[in-house]
Structures are given as structure tokens and as C-alpha cells.
């Protein structure tokens, strides 16, 4: 017997939660890829413990994967879940508070024995899955996932450990059934992944189908749920993670410019995935795993000196180590792209959690007067555009450029309208030529109308020159301690960066009104939450607008004008108030801050509440 009623929903937030060894990340990403295949818009939020294999069953060992998918535009992974899959007691305990009343709760009852209850700090007399009051709020699917998996594989010849490892496939199969989705995509994936381990492949497929069929046979739900394809703009799409998009953007830079790109990195969470991705593509770029963060950035500088494009990435603590060298690149006026996939600080902080607290570091975190352009991506897919734009600025304006992403963007994914690299904007490479020779001598600091200097690469006869970190005479580049010249060079470098404002797009109101009571101004990964919150408030009739900065230094030329159109400026940030300091200093406006430093993104409701508070207090 099969169910033929199907409920149509615009969008769904689902959370898979289990032990870090339960394969929740794989389950979540497989469900995501399938949702993408079905044409849904989506946003993901993987949330995993800092420990690689945290002890089984513990609260701090819970690994989660949250996905919001829909037939309308999706901007955030969602505040609350419609569906929660809890593989054990700890997963339930840490997540139940975010399950919507009336939501669907899928429980692996085998994860609720005495041992699991104790580890999750539940009293064994208070087993939550027997708590009628708690459960009455939700639609409950209690399934003995571990037992059913073991039964399905009893003849597989696999050991119990291996068998238990595939129970996530049961949950995935079951959820596929619940949302009327085929298991094909995951079956293909498994085939490829386990091509050399046919036994494991067969076991996974079997459990996946068992989970799916279990849904059909037990008729567990009164109806399944249908989420139709989203009406995205025309184009070819794929689902992409932020770090992957950064890697692809770097490949696009190499392809478009024809420059030798050297990507030099040192392993650090959550930036390492960029190196993982790029290491596969030595046909396009050169990757170099350096001995430390300093070597990574300096090797990149060496490559740029050699006429390639040096790129390096890290997270806050690693960027701190690179700062002296970034200062050198500012003084050398050399193209260099530095990516900071920010994480919660200070110091080692919470490496797997997100934060936006390195903006002031990017702005000011170097000795001396060392201005450089700062860009920030606002979605996983936008990371591709941002890194390409950063490379273009670095080359055309002969300057290091800092790109800010964060753990939430780097690990999260969103649909990306795939771009044909042949159609990306061209990049002019300011190589030195005869115009830069005066009296037979090459002038490495002879500036063009942008104030950027010529790039003379070793091997070019007649252009031999020495540059360094010591103060240099303008034009000749010779070492100079002349007081006036030093002031001139500091001002020229500052002006050079300011001039970039003429080459970047103006800031636009993304949602709401262009003049009104309140402007929400954001930057970076908060885009989705701010966008959804402002859209809701505007729908409710508030005179509210939303603008989001992708260029943080220099700011878009029209920013001051945009700010002047509103009574109040609200600047929500996942830090203790950083952009707000710069905005106040630069435009002398009394903006209102909203700050969160919990390692978690904003929820839409937090923003809406803040907006309402501001308007109430008026």
C-alpha cells in the first residue's frame, strides 16, 4: 500500500543531528544535493563539534546539519526546524528547543537506552521519548533505526561497527520517502565513493532503500510533503559551498589572466577546504603547503614578485601571523590576495564556529600606515564573485587585497548560477613597458592615473630593480629616508586605495524603501538573515530599507548619501561592534549596533525583534 496524499509546502527547514561519528554531515549534504537536483533554492548550516571524533553519545559530540529548501527564495538556513532527525538522546536534547510546535520529530529510539540517556544527562526515569507532554507538541516518528539497520545487514558479512556506521543511510532513505524524493542521486554517489569497496557499497544501498521502504510499508505519516522547484533566474545552477566557490574563483583568475597563480596555505580550520579543493587542480594553479602561516604569505609574495599572482588564506589567528608580510606587500605595492575565513575568537576561540570579528584586523591590523582594500562575500555563491573581483583589484591597482569570509559561509552552501569564465570581466595587467624608463633607468614607482605602479618581472632585460620594505623614493624606488618623501608615499598609497571607489559598483537598497525610518546595514555572512528580516518588516508596512556592503574599504561612493536617507541606521554584526566604529568615524552618524558573539549566525527573529524595539522607543 502506498500513500498518495501529498501536502504542498513552500519551504522546509530540516535538521539532521547525531553523533559526530554518525555521518550526519554526509546525510545532510546528500539530502541537500538531492534538493538542488529538484531545483529548490536552499541554504545550509553544518554545525559540528571541534573534536574530530568526540566521545559517542555526549552533548558536546553532537554534529548537526541544517538545511532550508524551498520553492521560493531562501536566504538563511532558517531559525526553527520543521523536521528534526535525532539519532540519539544528546541530539534530541541539544536541538529540540528549535523544533517548531507541530513539527515532525524523527527519533532513533535505539539512541535512547540507559547509556545514551546518561551521556545526554537525562534522568533514566525521564526518558524524553516517553514524555507524553513533550511529544504531544510534535508529530512523532519513533523508529528503531539501529536495530532495523542491523537486521537488514545481518547476512552482509560486515562487522557490527561497520553495520552501525550505515544507519545514517536508513534515516536518509526515510526522509527521502517523507519528501517524495528519489534515492537515485545518493545511489550514484555511493557507487562512486565505494567503487573499491563493493561490500560497503551494497550495505549502504541496502540500508538506504530499507529506510525508504520502511516509510512506504509502515505508512508512518498521514501524508508526504512536496516542495516544488524554486523560480530562480534562468541559468545553469549547482549547489556550492563557500570555500569551494573561493577555490573556483581562484581558478577562474588563473584561467582569465594566464598568470601563474600560487596558492600557498597552512592548514587551519575553517579555511583549509580551499587548499583541499585547489590541490586537485594543479592543471590550473600551483598549490604549496607551507611550513607555517608566515611562509605561506611570503611564498605568495615571492610568486607575485615573479610575475604570478600570490594567493593565501587563513583564519584570524593565522592572519595575525601574516600581518608583517602583508605590510611588506603594501609597501612593495604588489598584487596579493589574502582570504580570511573568520572564526570565533579571540585567540584559538571556537574554531568550528562562525564570527565576523576580524574586520578591524583587516582594516587596521598592521604596523604603520598600511591601507588595503577589504571585500566581504555575502553568500557561499557570492564567494566566487568576490574573490574574482579581489584578484582584479589586486592586479589592476597593484595592491594586496583582503577578502573576508567566515565559517558559516565557507562550510554552508547555496545554489550558484554557474558562470562561464570566458564571460567574466577582463583583467588588465599593468606590466612595465618603455614608458616607465627615464634616463635609461626603470622607475618601479612611476604611477599611472590610478596611482598604481608598473609591474616589472624578473627576466625582463633593462628592468632590473630592487624593492623592499624600507621607505622608498617615489618613482625611482630607491631607499629614501627623506621626511617629505615618506609622507608623500604614505599619502599616495592611501589615495590609491581610496581611488578604487571609482571602480566599484554603488551600494543598492536590496529590500524595502529607499528613504524611511530605518536602514539595516550589514556586511558579510549576515546577508540572508537581514534580507529576510527586512523583507518581513517591510511587508508588515514598516518604512525600512536594507543595504549590504561587499566593499568595506574603500566604501562605495554613494554610501554616505544612502545613509542620509534614513532616521535610524541599524548595524547588526557577529562581533562586538566593528563596522559601526568605522561608519561612525567616517560619516559621523550615530548608528545603532546589534551584536552577537556566540559562534552562531543571527536568526531572522532576533533581527525583527531589534527593529521593533528601535521603532517602539522612538
Amino acid at each position: 500500500m502506498s500513500i498518495n496524499t501529498s501536502e504542498l509546502r513552500e519551504n522546509i527547514v530540516i535538521k539532521f543531528a547525531g553523533d559526530s561519528g554518525d555521518g550526519m554531515q554526509l546525510t545532510g549534504s546528500q539530502f541537500t544535493e538531492t534538493a538542488a537536483k529538484y531545483g529548490n533554492d536552499l541554504a545550509t548550516f553544518p554545525d559540528f563539534p571541534a573534536e574530530i571524533r568526540a566521545p559517542q553519545g555526549t552533548l558536546y559530540g553532537v554534529s548537526g546539519f541544517q538545511l532550508h529548501f524551498g520553492s521560493t527564495r531562501v536566504h538563511t538556513p532558517g531559525d526553527e526546524y520543521d523536521v528534526l532527525v535525532a539519532m540519539n538522546a544528546a541530539a534530541l536534547k541539544t536541538n529540540i528547543k528549535n523544533l517548531k510546535p507541530g513539527g515532525t520529530l524523527i527519533i532513533n529510539i535505539d539512541g535512547f537506552d540507559d547509556k545514551f540517556l546518561r551521556l545526554a544527562k537525562y534522568d533514566k526515569l525521564d526518558n524524553p521519548i516517553e514524555d507524553e507532554k513533550l511529544l504531544s507538541n510534535y508529530t512523532i516518528h519513533k523508529i528503531a533505526i539501529t536495530q532495523l539497520t542491523r537486521k537488514a545487514l545481518e547476512d552482509s558479512g560486515l562487522g557490527i561497527k561497520e553495520i552501525d556506521r550505515s544507519k545514517n543511510m536508513f534515516a536518509l532513505g526515510y526522509v527521502y520517502w517523507l519528501f517524495n524524493r528519489k534515492t537515485d542521486f545518493t545511489e550514484n554517489y555511493l557507487e562512486e565513493k565505494f567503487s573499491k569497496k563493493p561490500k560497503i557499497f551494497e550495505a549502504n544501498i541496502k540500508v538506504l532503500r530499507t529506510g525508504y521502504n520502511y516509510g512506504i510499508t509502515v505508512e508512518a505519516a498521514s501524508s508526504t510533503t512536496e516542495v516544488q522547484a524554486a523560480a530562480l533566474d534562468k541559468g545553469i545552477y549547482r549547489n556550492i559551498r563557500g570555500n569551494e566557490a573561493l577555490a573556483y574563483g581562484i581558478i577562474a583568475l588563473a584561467y582569465k589572466t594566464g598568470l601563474d597563480v600560487l596558492y600557498a596555505g597552512y592548514p587551519i580550520t575553517p579555511a583549509t577546504d580551499i587548499l583541499h579543493e585547489l590541490a586537485k587542480h594543479k592543471n590550473y594553479i600551483t598549490t604549496f603547503q607551507a611550513e607555517d602561516e608566515i611562509a605561506a604569505v611570503t611564498a605568495a609574495i615571492g610568486a607575485s614578485f615573479g610575475g604570478g599572482l600570490g594567493v593565501t588564506a587563513s583564519s584570524g589567528p593565522g592572519i595575525a601571523l601574516k600581518t608583517e608580510a602583508i605590510g611588506l606587500a603594501v609597501a612593495l605595492e604588489m598584487p596579493l590576495v589574502i582570504i580570511n575565513v573568520q572564526r570565533a575568537g579571540p585567540s584559538t576561540g571556537m574554531p568550528t564556529k562562525t564570527e565576523q570579528s576580524d574586520l578591524l584586523q583587516a582594516y587596521y591590523g598592521r604596523n604603520g600606515e598600511t591601507p588595503l582594500p577589504v571585500l566581504a562575500c555575502n553568500s557561499p555563491a557570492d564567494s566566487f564573485d568576490i574573490i574574482y573581483e579581489a584578484g582584479k583589484i589586486a592586479i589592476e591597482h597593484m595592491t594586496p587585497v583582503m577578502v573576508l569570509s567566515d565559517g558559516y559561509l565557507g562550510n554552508g552552501s547555496s545554489p550558484w548560477s554557474i558562470q562561464d569564465p570566458d564571460l567574466l570581466p577582463e583583467i588588465d595587467i599593468p606590466f612595465a613597458n618603455q614608458d616607465h624608463i627615464k634616463d635609461g633607468k626603470f622607475m618601479p614607482y612611476l604611477r599611472d592615473e590610478r596611482l598604481s605602479r608598473p609591474w616589472a618581472v624578473p627576466g625582463k632585460k633593462g628592468f632590473e630593480h630592487r624593492i623592499g620594505g624600507l621607505s622608498k623614493e617615489n618613482e625611482t624606488g630607491d631607499v629614501s629616508y627623506d621626511p617629505e618623501n615618506n609622507q608623500l608615499m604614505v599619502e599616495l598609497r592611501e589615495q590609491k586605495v581610496e581611488n578604487i571607489a571609482e571602480f566599484i559598483p554603488e551600494i543598492k537598497i536590496k529590500a524595502g524603501v529607499e528613504k524611511g525610518d530605518i536602514l539595516v546595514l550589514g556586511w558579510g555572512s549576515t546577508y540572508g538573515a537581514l534580507m529576510s528580516a527586512v523583507t518581513d518588516c517591510h511587508d508588515q508596512g514598516l518604512k525600512i530599507g536594507f543595504a549590504h556592503l561587499r566593499y568595506l574599504r574603500p566604501f562605495p561612493g554613494n554610501l554616505e548619501k544612502v545613509l542620509s536617507q534614513y532616521q535610524n541606521i541599524l548595524i547588526p554584526e557577529l562581533n562586538n561592534g566593528q563596522l559601526i566604529k568605522i561608519i561612525r568615524e567616517k560619516f559621523n552618524v550615530d548608528a545603532i549596533g546589534m551584536n552577537k558573539v556566540q559562534g552562531l549566525p543571527f536568526t531572522k527573529n532576533e533581527i525583527i525583534n531589534k527593529i521593533q524595539d528601535i521603532l517602539k522607543s522612538e
Binding site: 522547484a229 584561467y255 611562509a295 615573479g306 610575475g307 630592487r466 630607491d478
Partner: protein, 345 residues
């Protein structure tokens, strides 16, 4: 025959003056750096390397001013990082002739990590380590090569830090070429520099350099006419080890222990024969003077060790070539698209 970067292409050499830049040299008068600069210029000329193909990269310190005085490409970078900068440059530019100029503070203290990693990777470049056993530019603090008990501004009670033996350290990092020269022995220094330049891999040349302002005479026992012959030994490949003011002293290897002998007491055939490719012997040579039991041993000069091992950049190119053959180098659109894409019409 294909020439390596840094190998002469013609029989004629260029005048060494043409490698000098127009910059006024700012080292203290009498500093050992002058002689080193001169020998380097002369080797570049002898080897007839086109100026535009040469890159000198340095860190911070007196020695690191070096690139300014050569009319080649150059970068005076930040403290200790020259090996890493040069590695990045070499990773994408196999064609250049690259030199790193560093000192005992720059290369062994603040930049020690980069130096050992450069050596193990074996990027092709020449590293000139000016060892003056002192910090000169900051005016006289003890360095990682200052002998135990050195008394100076930051070691008022004498140093208690066991000094590094740079060449021993380099061997520990599996260097493929180590050599030692003296600032004031131009002939030997030129020979060593030439060999270093011709070596395909990282060549580490330790150059004892007199800082006549803050550590004058640190190496006088090795350089003064009266003591030099008894205290140094110039190594030559496949030649026996003998030394001494009358060339009457030799060294034999007794198992793994070196012993000094009078030539009158042994036949020349029993002497230790220098073999540049023998890493065990090279290890013993590097330890001649840092082991108190070996007191009285002469300081080895010349090429201690030279072997061939694939360079990092050659292996990197091999991998790139393979990747290009397998994956192509065209428009990466298909890569971006992946397998799991969909179309919105």
C-alpha cells in the same frame, strides 16, 4: 645541451663591475661584507649570467642590504622570510638564477624554520649565510651562533645558549649542498660560490664574516697568517685531509672517530680521503669543532657535502604536467558545473 639557470651560456665572461648597482654602499668601513659582495659579483661575471635573470632576496640585517648593491632584480624583505619568499618565486619560475642572502640572526633565529624547510624541499637556489656570530644592525647582541660564554650587551653574564652549528643543522635538514668560506679568502670563496651556483638544489654556503665593529676578530684564528694553517683545512674532493703550517698534519678516520696524526707517522694512503657524497663523513666534518673532545681539530673549509636529489620545482612541474595531461587546461566551465547541476529555463 640544456643549460641550467646560472650556468654560462657563452665562453666569454662579463665584467664584474656591470653587476654593481648605482647605490652607495652603506656597510661600515672594514666590514667583511665588502669582500663577499666583490666575490659574488665576480662569480656572476665569470658565469656570465644575464643580469635580468638574477634575483637576490634578503631578509633583515647588515647582510640583507646586499641586493641593493647589485644591478639585478632584488628584494630586501622582512626579517627571516627570504627563504620562503624565494621558495614561492622558484615554485613558479624555474628559469631564474635565485640567491638568498641571510645572516646568523636572520637565517638561524627568526627565520630558522624557513631555512630548514627550504633545505629539505631542495628548491634550486643559493643561500649565502653570513655568519658573524653577532647581531650587527641592532648594534651588538649575541646571536644563535655566538660561542658559549660570549659577553655583550644582552649577555652581561655571558651567554648560556649553546650555539647552532649551521652546517650540522643543515645536514640534519637533509641539505644537498653545504660549504664554508671566509670573507677574506677571495679565491676559496669564489670557488665555493661557483660550485654552489652550479649545484641543482639548495646550496647552503656559510661564510665567516668579520663584523669589525661589534665582534672584531671572531674568526682571526682562522684568518691570521700565523694561525690559519694550523686551524683550518681546505677540503678537496677525493683528496686526503692534511693541514698545518708545514702541511705535515693529517686526519685519519679510526672507525667513526677522526684522529689527528703527523704525516711522518702514517702513510698518505691511510689518511681520510674527502668524499663530498658521503653523508656520514660530512656529518663528522661538521662536528670537528663543536665537540670539546675534538678540540684542536682544524675548521673544514670548502665543499663539505654535495649530492643530487630531485628539486622541489622539478617534481612540482612533473605533477603539473601530469595534471594537465589528465585534466586539460581549457575553460574550467565543465569543472565548475560538476555532475550535479540543473537548469532553470
Amino acid at each position: 645541451m640544456k643549460t641550467r639557470p646560472g650556468q654560462s651560456t657563452k665562453g666569454v665572461s662579463s665584467p664584474s663591475k656591470s653587476y654593481a648597482s648605482n647605490q652607495e654602499i652603506r656597510w661600515c668601513p672594514g666590514c667583511g661584507d665588502y669582500s663577499i659582495l666583490k666575490q659574488v659579483q665576480s662569480v656572476l661575471a665569470d658565469e656570465n649570467i644575464p643580469k635580468e635573470e638574477i634575483v637576490f632576496i634578503s631578509g633583515i640585517g647588515c647582510s640583507s642590504r646586499f641586493p641593493y648593491y647589485l644591478d639585478t632584480f632584488g628584494m630586501h624583505s622582512i626579517h627571516g622570510r627570504a627563504p620562503a619568499i624565494a621558495s614561492g618565486l622558484r615554485a613558479i619560475r624555474k628559469d631564474l638564477n635565485i640567491w638568498v642572502v641571510t645572516g646568523d640572526g636572520d637565517g638561524l633565529s627568526i627565520g630558522g624554520n624557513h631555512l630548514i624547510h627550504l633545505l629539505r624541499r631542495n628548491f634550486n637556489m643559493n643561500v649565502l649565510l653570513f655568519n658573524n656570530e653577532i647581531y650587527g644592525l641592532t648594534k651588538g647582541q649575541y646571536s644563535p651562533t655566538s660561542p658559549l660564554g660570549t659577553v655583550n650587551k644582552t649577555a652581561v653574564w655571558g651567554t648560556i645558549d649553546l650555539p647552532f652549528n649551521p652546517l650540522k643543522l643543515a645536514l640534519g635538514a637533509d641539505a644537498t649542498f653545504i660549504a664554508r668560506g671566509l670573507d677574506i679568502d677571495p679565491l676559496l670563496l669564489r670557488q665555493v660560490l661557483k660550485r654552489a651556483n652550479q649545484h641543482n638544489g639548495t646550496s647552503l654556503v656559510e661564510i665567516y664574516q668579520n663584523c669589525n665593529v661589534f665582534n672584531d676578530g671572531a674568526f682571526s684564528v682562522l684568518t691570521d697568517k700565523a694561525t690559519k694553517k694550523d686551524n683550518t683545512i681546505v677540503l678537496e674532493h677525493q683528496k686526503p685531509l692534511f693541514f698545518g703550517v708545514n702541511n705535515d698534519m693529517g686526519i685519519i678516520l679510526d672507525g667513526f672517530s677522526p684522529r689527528i696524526v703527523k704525516l711522518s707517522e702514517v702513510s698518505e694512503n691511510d689518511l681520510w680521503i674527502h668524499d663530498e657524497e658521503d653523508s656520514l663523513k660530512a656529518t663528522i666534518l661538521t662536528r670537528f669543532f663543536d665537540n670539546p673532545e675534538n678540540d684542536g681539530f682544524p675548521r673544514p673549509l670548502g665543499v663539505l657535502y654535495a649530492v643530487n636529489r630531485p628539486t622541489y620545482e622539478d617534481q612540482l612541474r612533473g605533477q603539473k604536467k601530469m595534471a594537465i595531461e589528465q585534466l586539460g587546461q581549457g575553460n574550467p566551465y565543465e569543472l565548475f558545473k560538476g555532475k550535479n547541476y540543473w537548469e532553470v529555463k
